[in-house]
């Protein structure tokens, strides 16, 4: 455990104790969302950018429940289906209060919510040139991950499975390949369903995971927030500890000598 205290998630030179990033959507209420985040230990939360409700300004504001001075807001382009929309959204997000660290998500298909990688790549390049630090939601495709890195992404965020599907990591091989080729933070984004999925991601050597639906829509979101917190810690420790080699045959745990 002592070693873990020094083991931090570093994104754009900023250090975070927690390797769990939590989304703030789909909760029953703002207070439920705030409590789940607290229990998860997350220090980064993703947020969406939408129109202010002009007719009902008494509606609770996210910032009243989650203090952006204490928790890092990661503006996200969820819901954008082309580069133009994504760029507009993030430029607005920056204007709200100087947010430069952002999550880019350009979707290509309304049914499976897979990313449109052509638009994503284009947007990453533009945003990086404009001074944004871009964490990029992408396919679990090593070639595309490399191209994103080449145009200046500050973190690679491949999906485990379609957003909100809860299917868990579908292609561990590709995640391993992406891990082996990049020193950038590698964060599994989307598709996790339960805490063991986070353990697997961390054991593959990922730097973190991003979870929203699996916590927000669990029967008991607070308990699931804790489960993910512990899962990420367990997975990271397991990765750092170094697993044993797999063998086809048994190897007794007790000494063979001194048998009666």
């Amino acid at each position: 455990m002592v070693k873990l205290k020094k083991d931090k998630l570093i994104v754009d030179k900023k250090k975070f104790n927690s390797r769990l990033i939590v989304g703030t959507g789909k909760y029953k209420s703002m207070s439920e969302c705030a409590k789940a985040i607290k229990l998860s230990g997350a220090e980064i939360v993703t947020v969406a950018i939408r129109r202010v409700n002009i007719s009902d300004k008494k509606k609770p504001l996210l910032m009243d429940y989650i203090d952006p001075k204490k928790i890092t807001y990661l503006p996200n382009t969820a819901g954008c289906f082309n580069s133009e929309e994504a760029l507009r959204t993030l430029r607005l997000a920056r204007e709200i209060g100087g947010w430069k660290l952002v999550k880019l998500e350009v979707l290509g298909d309304k049914k499976n919510l897979f990313p449109d990688m052509i638009e994503t790549l284009k947007s990453t390049e533009v945003l990086t040139k404009e001074g944004f630090k871009v964490m990029v939601y992408c396919n679990d495709d090593p070639l595309m991950a490399k191209r994103l890195e080449n145009v200046g992404a500050c973190a690679i965020m491949p999906l485990a499975a379609p957003i909100g599907s809860g299917l868990g990591i579908q292609n561990t091989t590709n995640i391993k390949i992406i891990r082996s080729q990049t020193k950038l933070p590698l964060i599994i984004d989307a598709g996790l369903g339960q805490a063991s999925d986070a353990v697997i991601a961390m054991e593959l050597g990922c730097d973190g995971v991003l979870v929203n639906t699996a916590i927000a829509k669990a029967k008991k979101p607070f308990q699931m927030a804790l489960a993910f917190k512990n899962g990420v810690i367990a997975g990271r420790e397991s990765f750092l500890a170094g697993r044993i080699k797999k063998s086809l045959y048994g190897s007794p745990s007790s000494p063979k000598t001194g048998l009666i």
Partner: protein, 72 residues
């Protein structure tokens, strides 16, 4: 008494009739927008919040005001 002319603008997709002599700043203050928590676009151009007072609203202007909400 001189009658103040009214103009129509669009704010977050909704039509609104306002006095012709308003600056963007005074309009946003009038409708109680928490300026520190939002970003403002006027006719698809992001507006520096320090310059809101210098911008006079014109007929058919389109204002977008956005903020952070819960999302994944």
């Amino acid at each position: 008494m001189k009658k103040i002319k009214k103009i129509k603008i669009k704010i977050n997709g909704n039509l609104s009739t306002i006095n012709d002599d308003l600056s963007l700043l005074s309009y946003l203050k009038k409708i109680k927008i928490p300026l520190k928590k939002v970003a403002i676009e006027l006719n698809k151009e992001i507006i520096d919040k320090n310059k809101l007072g210098k911008i006079k609203l014109r007929k058919n202007d389109k204002i977008e005001i956005v903020h952070f909400i819960g999302g994944g």
